[in-house]
């Protein structure tokens, strides 16, 4: 298990009487890209949000390398520094420019000097193709541009793991590709990624594993081609028939 970056063991999450995630187990090795698919309400985002404890798992354990996320005495902030997250609605800070959005956390959490943080922020914005948008505020950017800033912001903390929560669901169709391209680059550079998304193209191009969830449970795990073309479970087949 030495090379498992993310280890999810028998995790359940209940909201009151509703069980959003039921006894889910999943490992993601270093450098692996894993996609979670499933109908809305199947618990995939909740499971993802348990990984950096934006939701606290009701049962089970989650580890990033050997650090426990679920241990209430653990240093969750230290773990979150290592786990970048990209949200469906970008959640950029509207009062800050793109550069400051990216540089804020390195400066305030890591204590990096302003000059160095800005330099790194600009390099990251270059990398996601936004070299001309350093001084733009989120409201001045398109959805696709905002999401690329959000990716740069997460990368600025030099994380070991990146979580993506439906990163393209709030985007207009013509902007999806630019975000997926940035994610593809990241995958090729060997980033460990756990992605909630239905982007089949991205899955086939970059994913090592696809996880199908339904009704809070992990139904099927396999290689993208296997899950998409030859699903073994009836529920997977039904879901794929809906979205293809």
């Amino acid at each position: 298990m030495a090379d498992s970056r993310i280890r999810i063991e028998n995790v359940s999450k209940r909201f009151g009487s509703v069980t959003a995630v039921r006894n889910a187990s999943l490992t993601v090795a270093a450098g692996e890209v894993v996609l979670i698919i499933g109908p809305s309400g199947s618990g995939k985002s909740t499971l993802l949000r348990c990984v950096n404890r934006l939701e606290t798992a009701s049962e089970g354990e989650i580890f990033i390398d050997d650090d426990s996320v679920t241990d209430p005495r653990g240093n969750i902030r230290a773990i979150r520094e290592e786990v970048g997250m990209v949200f469906q609605n970008f959640n950029l800070f509207p009062h800050l420019t793109a550069r400051d959005n990216v540089a804020l956390s390195p400066r305030k959490v890591r204590g990096v000097s302003k000059e160095e943080a800005y330099q790194r922020a600009e390099a990251l914005l270059d990398r996601v193709g936004l070299s001309d948008k350093y001084d733009s505020y989120p409201a001045q950017l398109s959805g696709g541009q905002q999401q690329r800033v959000a990716i740069a912001r997460a990368l600025a903390m030099q994380p070991k793991v990146m979580l993506f929560d439906e990163p393209t669901s709030a985007l207009d169709p013509e902007m999806i590709k630019e975000v997926l391209d940035a994610m593809l680059d990241l995958a090729q550079e060997g980033m460990t990624m756990l992605v909630v998304s239905h982007e089949m193209g991205f899955a086939r191009a970059a994913a090592d594993k696809v996880v199908f969830m339904d009704n809070g449970e992990i139904i099927e795990i396999g290689a993208p081609d296997a899950v998409f073309d030859r699903p073994t479970e009836e529920r997977t087949r039904k879901f794929l028939a809906h979205i293809l």
């Binding site: 902030r77 959640n91 956390s105």
Partner: protein, 263 residues
């Protein structure tokens, strides 16, 4: 699946009336223009056209106006501080802090300002002899601090939940997230209601004349009680209050306009 979220708008309303003029109204004869320039014209013309007694009255008022501003500005600054702490207390997860803040708000909002003023000056005066200006400022600050607390609470809660989540996901503490991400955005949202409170406080500051602080109203009253020009004096006092409050309501409206464009 994300857990069910309550829908959150960014518009908050904490006010007892529309003091701030509608910026959309650009007509030459808007209600604001008629009232402001009408009042201003009377304040200038009355002493010119009828020097006796208006020139005498207007000469008495500047010291009172200064005192009114002193009480208002000092109180609003202290009230903002109290309000910020109270607002943070109201959203605190620590039950004790939360209860203290909530009880403060409930108690203060349930007692009329005039009663609070009497209480601090006369009732507490038995135990601690407070200067009357200090009492006046203390009463206004404590009272308005509770209302400010509600404005800050509503303002903080109007910031989408995703902002806090994004900050936490980046490794910030809750305190850092509040200070660096939530509060800077809150300022923009609370500015109009805070401006409204400032104007309301300016008007309510006339209550301090009852504990013998020589503010604008008291300056007029002292003059009227010796000369018996009640009608003329209070007309002037009312007009001066009107000019001042309408002037500030315009400033608040302009600031609001600027801020909403600067996103």
């Amino acid at each position: 699946m994300a857990p069910i979220e309550r829908e959150q708008g960014t518009r908050i309303t904490v006010s007892d009336g529309a003091l701030i003029p509608d910026q959309g109204e650009t007509s030459l004869f808007s209600a604001w223009r008629i009232s402001f320039y009408g009042a201003l014209a009377l304040v200038i013309l009355l002493p010119v056209l009828s020097p006796d007694p208006y020139r005498d009255i207007i000469a008495r008022l500047p010291m009172g106006i200064l005192r009114t501003f002193q009480v208002t500005v000092t109180s609003i600054i202290i009230a903002l501080g109290i309000g910020l702490i109270t607002g943070l207390g109201r959203i605190s997860r620590v039950t004790v802090i939360n209860r203290i803040a909530t009880v403060y708000v409930e108690v203060i909002r349930g007692i009329p300002l005039l009663v609070q003023l009497f209480y601090i000056y006369f009732a507490l005066g038995r135990f601690l002899s407070l200067d009357r200006i200090v009492s006046a400022i203390a009463a206004m600050s404590i009272c308005y601090g509770a209302y400010m607390g509600e404005i800050f609470r509503a303002g903080i809660q109007s910031i989408p939940k995703g902002q806090m989540e994004a900050a936490l996901a980046l490794g910030m503490s809750r305190t850092q997230a509040l200070r660096l991400v939530i509060l800077p955005q809150t300022v923009r949202v609370v500015l109009p209601p805070v401006g409204n409170e400032f104007i309301a406080l300016l008007k309510d500051s006339s209550l301090v004349s009852i504990v013998a602080v020589t503010d604008l109203l008291r300056a007029g009253r002292e003059y009227a009680s010796t000369t018996f020009y009640y009608f003329e004096t209070y007309t002037m006092v009312a007009l001066v209050y009107l000019v001042i409050t309408l002037f500030f309501s315009k400033i608040v409206a302009i600031m609001e306009e600027r801020l909403s464009h600067g996103r």
